[in-house]
């Protein structure tokens, strides 16, 4: 389903070139829960950003269901992100001006769905992540774990083909982290959700199907 060929990303910091990805190639099957692990600076987040169309690689190719993502225009990429991909960031990336429910159904509004349907689907999704009772609370009224669950609900509301999670438990305590990872596992098992998750915690390994280890911008082992 996902094919990555010789993916490179070079950043320019002043006159210095930083080779964050030096040519990475791999495949991910439908319904797979893939972990991306490695030390700091190994390129795991950079790789996730390229796959999730949040950044543009310097070289290489990315195919999702035979679509060459790097050939898409900016507006096509935006549409692809909206319809096919879901994101959970390391920080609780939810919008402070919106309630938990509004945060969740926002992508549906962009897809042109009726507000009533958006609310119903949003509530359903919040129930799934165990936050039905917190639907009308603003970001500042939610704990870190709850905010991350809101972000997960939002990432899943459009039924994405792939869910990208960039160290989703980095700012959570062990208990909240376990809840999140169990939720991912459940989504993967019950709904066949394809998940790519970046992590550096050894104990997270047990939740994923397969791990790709990165080191210095290259795949160390798969």
């Amino acid at each position: 389903m996902i094919k990555v060929k010789n993916l490179k990303r070079i950043y320019h910091k002043g006159l210095v070139e930083v080779h964050a990805l030096k040519g990475v190639s791999f495949e991910v099957k439908n319904g797979e829960f893939l972990g991306l692990m490695g030390p700091s600076g190994s390129g795991k987040s950079t790789l996730l950003h390229q796959l999730g169309l949040l950044d543009t690689p310097t070289g290489g190719e990315i195919f999702i269901d035979e679509i060459n993502l790097l050939k898409l225009s900016e507006s096509e990429k935006t549409l692809f992100r909206l319809n096919q991909l879901g994101y959970v960031f390391q920080e609780y990336a939810i919008l402070g001006e919106l309630t938990a429910l509004e945060n969740v159904y926002l992508p549906l509004l962009m897809m042109g769905k009726k507000k009533k349907d958006c609310i119903n689907l949003g509530m359903e999704m919040l129930d799934k992540v165990g936050l039905g009772e917190r639907a009308h609370h603003l970001q500042r009224e939610l704990s870190g774990g709850e905010q991350q669950r809101v972000a997960i609900a939002r990432a899943l509301i459009n039924k994405p083909k792939i869910l990208f999670a960039d160290e989703p438990c980095a700012n959570l305590d062990t208990e909240s982290s376990r809840h999140i990872l169990e939720l991912f596992r459940k989504l993967n098992e019950d709904l066949g959700q394809t998940i790519l998750m970046v992590s550096h915690e050894e104990w997270h390994k047990k939740y994923v199907d397969r791990i790709i280890y990165l080191k210095d911008g290259l795949i160390e082992k798969m």
Partner: protein, 399 residues
């Protein structure tokens, strides 16, 4: 273009609803004051222009002024000419006048000026001097040895200064008038009027009968003032008068005052223009700063919105809508303030040297002000949101 407008509206509403109430109130207050300023000053200038025009119609020219033909000193057969004009439907009345140079003397004081004749019954229909009597009475048809004078000629008793006048003569005082033909005659001051500082208070009037006896003329006039029922029909009546075979010079009040109003209000208009430009710059700066700070503060949110697939145009539009919200709220509050201000000044007009001025607000002034505020708000809302929204997603989220 309006695809996903609802989402932009949704984001804008939430942003306004959950923003700092103090900032919102302050922004709207500034916008409303800017709107008041955009309209108020020009409305006063328009009020000045309208007062000047009104005064020239009411005291100097009527709606249409008929003057002697080229090379003629007087209009002849005035009675028949007046009858001919008065018969036309839409003509309220006519008043003929002689105008002669004269010197007015009282004791050791004297002043030169223009002496007009008036046929009181006609003048009352055509002009409003009779309403501006501040002392004594207006002329009556039978008056022969009586004169009425403007305040600028009579002067005020207790006011010392450089002004040339008769030093504060009172009703009943004797005024010696030296006519341009050398005739010298004494008149009793019957009344003093003050109607305008546009020169009309330097006029003096005796009856037509008296003027004709001094000048030795009959059925002639230096000018005929025509009063129409309806303002704005002057050109149409000028044409009708020409069709009646009137060979004298016929001019509408607008033709007579051409440029005069402009000269008086042009300086005010420059001040108004500067004030308008400054107001619009303040509006741009206020909205720009508010939206700019907003977008900088919410840079991460903008990045998140883009990351989850929200179109950049939707985000920009949401900020433009916020700018428009500030703009329209300012216009609404400003309109209320303006209504209060104009209502007050209509009942308590501002006293200017040329007379009392009421603000005049035309549709074009309102439209122009709303449009200009709208345009600057659109620009000031668009630029900062566009600048932030076009940043890369990762840079917006993580800096």
């Amino acid at each position: 273009m309006f695809k996903n407008f609802k989402l932009s509206f949704f984001l804008a509403c939430k942003s306004i609803k959950r923003s700092n109430i103090g900032t919102t109130v302050l922004t709207i207050a500034i916008m409303s004051l800017i709107f008041v300023n955009l309209i108020f000053l020009p409305s006063i200038v328009e009020g000045i222009a309208e007062t000047i025009e009104q005064q020239t119609r009411d005291y100097m020219y009527g709606n249409i002024l008929i003057e002697p033909k080229e090379d003629d000193f007087y209009i002849d057969n005035v009675d028949s000419l007046q009858k001919k004009i008065n018969r036309l439907p839409g003509v309220l009345g006519t008043a003929s006048r002689y105008m002669v140079g004269a010197t007015f003397t009282h004791k050791d004081k004297f002043i030169g000026g223009t002496l007009h004749s008036a046929s009181p019954a006609d003048e009352i229909i055509v002009t409003k001097y009779h309403e501006g009597m501040i002392s004594g009475e207006y002329l009556s048809e039978s008056d022969t040895d009586e004169i009425i004078m403007g305040l600028d000629l009579t002067g005020e008793e207790d006011k010392e200064g450089d002004k040339a006048d008769l030093g504060g003569v009172k009703v009943g005082d004797k005024i010696e008038v030296t006519f341009s033909n050398g005739v010298i005659k004494e008149y009793r001051l019957k009344g003093i009027f003050s109607v305008s500082k546009m020169g009309m208070d330097s006029f003096a009037f005796i009856t037509e009968k008296e003027m004709e006896s001094v000048l030795g003329s009959n059925n002639q006039a230096s000018q005929i003032l025509v009063k129409l029922n309806e303002l704005g029909t002057e050109k149409e009546f000028k044409k009708k008068f020409m069709e009646l075979g009137i060979k004298e010079k016929i001019k509408t009040w607008e033709e007579k005052t051409a440029g005069m109003t402009e000269v008086v209000v042009s300086s005010f208009r420059i001040i108004t223009l500067i004030s308008t430009i400054v107001s619009l710059i303040i509006a741009v700066v206020v909205i720009f700063v508010i939206i700019y700070i907003n977008t900088i503060y919410k840079r991460k949110q903008i990045g998140i919105l883009k990351a989850i697939g929200i179109d950049q145009r939707v985000i920009i539009r949401s900020y433009i809508l916020q700018a428009l919200f500030y703009c329209f709220s300012g216009i609404i509050i400003g309109s209320i303030l303006l209504w209060i201000l104009v209502s007050y000044l209509t009942t308590n007009p501002i006293s200017f040297p040329i007379g009392t001025i009421r603000p005049v607000i035309g549709t074009s002034l309102i439209t122009q002000s709303i449009l200009s505020l709208l345009i600057v708000s659109l620009i000031a809302g668009f630029i900062p949101s566009w600048k932030t929204a076009r940043e890369s997603i990762l840079k917006a989220i993580w800096g």
